[in-house]
């Protein structure tokens, strides 16, 4: 090939390579979204199951209500959402999934509280509100602390919420617990709100010193952006 024709042909080939790479990326990302969707479907079943158990609780004994935590699928969903938050360029679908996940968490939170009160279990519920903005360095640290709590204290149930998400459920939770955007991170431990970073020692002191509960062993990943 003579002159600049070759430069043009090479340009076309290079653009073609990028196009193939782009479509491969779209294909695999769609597969991942489909996987999240699948997990979400499972989550929907879990929601229904939770609601049913919630209703049954009135007429059943505590011994019968053993499986009150959300399924492993939900924990996986949290992991995947956390990963996708950092790696997907298109967050639209993800935000919808996060909203649904938040509702699911609230459902489980309410159910757990009901069981805890009725059956006198030692489950401690922790609501964690964070934001993904770079400016919230304490949110990152709080995420690490809650991950450690989750791993070391199975009786602690951590529910994490992205305060920046456009979700009426999260807005309601923020309002009920008197948390504003300016006081993040915030944690609510068994109904009491603590704003600002809470150290591992502080949070550990709030947990019961009894042995881990058998009714609350499924860990929930604390969704928070680790790096920006």
């Amino acid at each position: 090939m003579k002159g600049f024709r070759k430069y043009f042909v090479v340009l076309l080939i290079t653009v073609g390579i990028f196009a193939i790479a782009y479509f491969a990326s779209v294909y695999f990302n769609n597969q991942k979204i489909a996987e999240i969707q699948k997990a979400q479907d499972q989550a929907t079943v879990d929601v229904l199951s939770s609601e049913t158990q919630f209703d049954l609780l009135e007429s059943q004994s505590c011994q019968d209500v053993t499986n009150t935590y959300l399924s492993q699928e939900i924990s996986n969903l949290a992991d995947k959402i956390s990963y996708a938050e950092q790696n997907f360029s298109d967050q639209t679908q993800l935000n919808l999934l996060k909203q649904q996940y938040a509702i699911l968490e609230v459902k489980d939170y309410l159910l757990t509280k009901q069981i805890s009160e009725r059956c006198k279990s030692n489950i401690v519920t922790i609501l964690y509100f964070y934001e993904n903005a770079n400016s919230c360095t304490d949110c990152q640290k709080q995420g690490y602390v809650l991950d450690a709590i989750r791993q070391n204290y199975p009786q602690a149930r951590v529910y994490s919420f992205d305060a920046g998400l456009d979700s009426s459920t999260i807005r309601a939770l923020l309002s009920i617990n008197k948390i504003s955007d300016k006081t993040l991170p915030a944690v609510v431990v068994d109904g009491t709100t603590y704003t600002g970073f809470q150290s591992l020692d502080t949070l550990t002191a709030m947990l019961p010193t009894t042995t881990p509960s058998t009714t609350a062993s499924t860990p929930k990943k604390t969704i928070t952006k680790k790096t920006q």
């Binding site: 990028f18 790479a21 790696n87 640290k141």
Partner: protein, 415 residues
Amino acid sequence: MTLGDIITYIVIFLAVYVQVFFLVTYIEHRKKFPAIMNKELPELVNPPKVAVIVPCWNEEKTVHGTIASILALDYPADKLEVIAVDDGSTDTTWQELLQYKDNPRVRIFQKENGGKHTAINFGIDNTDAEIVGGLDADSFVAPDALRRMIAMFQSDPEVMAVTPSLIVHNPQTMLQHAQQVEYNMSTYNKKMLSFLGAIHVTPGPFSLFRKSMFDKIGKFRKAHNTEDQELAYRMQQNHLKIEHCVNAYVYTSSPDTVKKLYKQRLRWIYGFIQNTIDYRHLVFNAEYLNFSFFTLPSGIISIVAVVFLSASFLYDFIVFLISKINQIAAVGFNSHIHINFNWFYINTQTVFFVTIILYVLLIFSIVMGTRLNQQGHGFDWRILLYLVVYSVIAPFWLLKAVWNTITGRRQPAWR
């Protein structure tokens, strides 16, 4: 998409473009390779007189091997002379050279130290040979190399210079094996550039020139201690043809430590930057097509790419480090390592796939170069070694060369 992402895409796009350009050039000329790699020695009709200049500066240990390899060349003895120039050595190089004072095929000279280019120019001024070339006193030539290179001069009167393929002499350390891979890739790239008429360096070890050429465009210049690059730039500027003889092999000593390699590469890259600045009028100048639109820009792209990607990597590393410090500050060393083998967590971003394609193209260049240099037939462990070692150390000399250019620091010495 952040500004950093956009720059990353541009840099990778250009890097892929360069590799595709090489690949397309290879495909265009692939049918020539059986002839290029022909093992039969060419017959020379009326071979021209050749002078090989050996510039020496403190080469007492290697100069004998270098001269011996020239005298052993498969070439008519009466048409080949060695001109050894001691460039003010402070060791016993001159005493070693005196052993050749009665050898009719070797002429020895001693001069004050003035730099490598002055030693070669001294040799050029003291010969009447039609073809002249230099051979660093740390390099050795394969016996058939000269014949093959002279055949290229004879087959095309327009050829003004012929460059050989370089091979690391007796590689011992991992670093030297990594350099061999780089030299292999360089052979492939240089052959492609010769097809494009766009070679940008006539390496010190055994590049040959028509002596008449020096009368037209002048001899070697100091040129930031990269006189072999500057001469090639000047030749391109004057539309003089440079060919590459793939199967003319020259074995050259290579740095065996990172420090020595760093010094050598700093000199090369600094020289490339400075020479390109000196000859900036050749960049994107339609008169010099491939040299100005491909060779020089691709060299600049590779420097910019490495500088940007290293800075980007450094930034990511610092962010990671801060995040880890925050984690330790928050929970001590009480964190659990979390390994997930689910395919979901494999990177599937566009940049990931393009980077894989870029590496495939790079490995193709290396494998082709390995074959051309007759160092093997396919993929071997040294390729991975090269990719890993150079990814880690190359940014240092590139960044330092850029830094020296920006701050106007003096370039390192030629040896």
